[in-house]
Symmetry: C2
Subunit: 451 residues, 2 copies
């Protein structure tokens, strides 16, 4: 019997989780992974910490090298190989080998697309100038680091005040670079409601960041190929370097001619088993769409956690098992200096869009007992359905422990808990770790009076 | 119409939560609270931090004074008043007033018993000697502090290595006192399985604590009324002071002659509305029994969180509302120096006792991304039902963030989640706050292969 051949496109979290799972379950499968860069299985989320110097070597971000996949797992990890085209009628992919600049067709019995995402950048004037960086791959981290070393930039402009924007703001502040953020929304962190975004704004200003809200990128100015300024619809801001934090777009342009269905946002449509509309073709990670468990609607989110989980699900199913990925509640966190900024579930604006009648509240509490010397401020926002009190979303900003508190809300959301259920939760308490009513419960106690 | 009169016995968390709730809902009720000590509404859990000096003034532990209850809430908080007897046939209680040493009967329309718990101490020889302390009331904290100031003890023996024992160990270490813990169990922290207790043991030894396990208290030695040694079934240990950490017993001896039903452990039996078997008599807090939501059995646990919640439920119902307290999953945490020790759900020994077929695992992971410089070790133990994979319990020891991670497991237990559900949870991730797979998910991924 012919050995079954799995081809994986993309050698990071989703692709390698899947490939490793298939290898564990099916020792006889032939597994080939084509990866465009020279790296496999790395933590792109760690790049800001490499740039800030908190992580000394880029190699620390690599979980497993191509060599290790080849030697230890019998997975043919082929780096500097880019897939240019997928022909699902004939079960083959067109591959460009950057090593010898050749192209070839590779056939497959099963195909997993795990090409991830790329920093979104509108194709404005001079958008390819030197000194303008998206932060998505290990290579982008390497380039930013080399640029800073070579040019010693004094002023950086970050376009977009989301997670990557904020994490890069911290990294650049730590490098002694002056940071300006421009954001087209009314507040930074559009993944929070504006009332919580305003608190993030205050935190950033406190850290020395200049912020221009309600301002859109028009184009870049350059001199001798190097960026010199960001021009918005309102002004020109001098910049020795630019970071793009305008969100992530799925890496799916190579599928344009294929029969694989994409969403309006160009993310690959998959079912709960991570199968695409085409037989024997799976997709996982930042290139694929998922489902929002709160809204019950298709949803795009580019996160390492989801990439790992959907990769594992795809791998299980490709190997002949049966596993569903239920979806996400859109939990995310970022840390900027001492502040943790966390969110889960729906925003108020999403509730409005989905015509869900809701109530919301923001409370200020402490991370520890009020009398415990290291107690820090923490703000919790809860959104719940009017009438039923069912939790719809939560946002937390704190000088510590916002992340793990959002996880309680994420678990509550997944389990469809109500505010009363949250009040009843048997959460841990000791003066050095929490007030007797955890801040998420204090928020629930306040909000329940209004449902 | 005659004003309805509520009598509350006990002026701490449960009693005052209830009284305040009744006041908010029923401005016309007469509310009288009898409190044995001179304090109301304080955090007994904060006592170790007052003794260590982290909290400077005992008053910081007081949430609301008797005066404030009287003036602001129209709640007649009568301190130094002890209830000696309850006559449910005639709806009245016998009160001893320590101020003027008089006794009187007070009638009630509704009675809430919220007398809390007391440090358990067997009535062994010299158990009333000076220098032997339970840690339960604000007064006990005051006495320990005064004793340390006056006698400058060099050696302390803590009898019982549970939460209070460990928190007091930290406090005394910080005061420069040499600490020995004796515990009759094979390991300290009997609320953990012995394999996790062993790790706590190692932590304590590292902090300089001497531990004698499998050793029982026989009696105390004293000189001129002051304790000089703890005698166990194996040896005599010199002691300038002794802390009793052998657990909490409900304060219910004054009910011995009443018709109010007690459990074998002498905790007041209540239904989900916090009603006792006697009409118009409620109970809440450390004097009452509750229910374990995992075993579905009656359960006794003395914790501030439960006292606040059951007080609120009792108050709601006394005021004419309808609210149930579902029960607990037995979540608890304590911090000793940098280590957080947390638990929820059932122990292996409880699973055995309840004839539940289970699997368990312990994993070691990191609190943050492996490459993030401040990442600390964390150990997670999970127990799940064989066959179904339903979570039964979790125990976490970490140098940070064990408490908030146990809360995810507590929420999962309450929602009856399985290991697969836990793996699927959309928990927050950023390198400074978590690995991409949270340690609780890493444990679930390991254990799921064995169900």
């Amino acid at each position: 019997m012919k050995k079954k051949k799995l081809v994986v496109i993309g050698g990071d979290a989703a692709g390698m989780s899947a490939a490793s799972k298939v290898r564990r379950e099916q020792p006889d499968f032939e597994i080939i992974v084509f990866e465009k860069s020279e790296y496999t299985s790395y933590s792109a989320c760690g790049i800001p910490y490499f740039i800030s110097g908190k992580v000394e070597n880029l190699e620390e971000l690599i979980v497993r090298s191509p060599e290790k996949f080849i030697e230890k797992y019998n997975i043919k990890a082929k780096t500097l190989h880019e897939v240019l085209e997928v022909d699902t009628d004939n079960n083959k992919v067109l591959v460009h080998n950057y090593n010898d600049k050749t192209q070839f067709w590779e056939s497959y019995d099963a195909l997993l697309i795990a090409t991830g995402g790329k920093a979104f950048c509108p194709e404005v004037k001079n958008h390819t100038a030197d000194g303008i960086f998206g932060i998505q791959t290990l290579n982008s981290g390497k380039k930013v680091d080399a640029f800073i070393t070579k040019h010693q930039p004094k002023k950086a402009v970050i376009v977009g005040g989301g997670y990557i924007g904020l994490e890069m703001a911290e990294a650049l502040i730590l490098k002694g670079i002056e940071v300006t953020i421009i954001d087209r929304a009314k507040e930074v962190m559009a993944t929070l409601d504006p009332d919580m975004g305003k608190k993030v704004h205050e935190v950033l200003v406190e850290l020395g960041v200049t912020i221009f809200n309600s301002e859109s990128l028009s184009y870049f100015e350059e001199k001798e190929g190097k960026v010199t300024a960001v021009v918005t619809d309102k002004k020109t801001i001098k910049a020795d370097m630019v970071i793009l934090g305008m969100g992530t777009a799925p890496n799916t342009s190579f599928l344009a001619k294929s029969k694989i269905k994409l969403s309006d946002r160009k993310a690959i449509k998959v079912n709960r088993y991570q199968q695409t509309n085409v037989k024997n073709v799976w997709a996982a990670g930042d290139c694929a769409e998922t489902k929002n468990l709160v809204s019950n609607k298709p949803f795009y989110i580019a996160l390492g956690t989801v990439a790992n989980k959907t990769g594992l699900v795809a791998g299980t199913n490709i190997a002949g098992g049966t596993l569903k990925f239920p979806g996400v509640v859109a939990t995310a966190v970022c840390k900027i200096c001492v502040y943790e900024i966390a969110r889960t579930g729906l925003l108020e604006s999403e509730c409005v869009a989905f015509k869900i009648d809701f109530v919301s509240t923001i409370i200020k509490s402490k991370t520890r007992a009020h009398y415990y010397p290291e107690a820090k401020d923490i703000f919790v926002k809860l959104i719940a359905e009017k009438g039923t009190g069912k939790l719809l979303g939560g946002q937390i900003i704190g000088e510590e422990d916002a992340a793990k508190r959002i996880d309680v809300l994420a678990t509550a959301l997944t389990s469809k808990l109500t505010l009363q259920n949250i009040i009843d939760l048997d959460l841990s308490y000791a003066p050095p770790v929490s007030p007797v009513w955890d801040p998420v419960q204090t928020a629930a106690r306040k909000l329940i009076n209004r449902i």
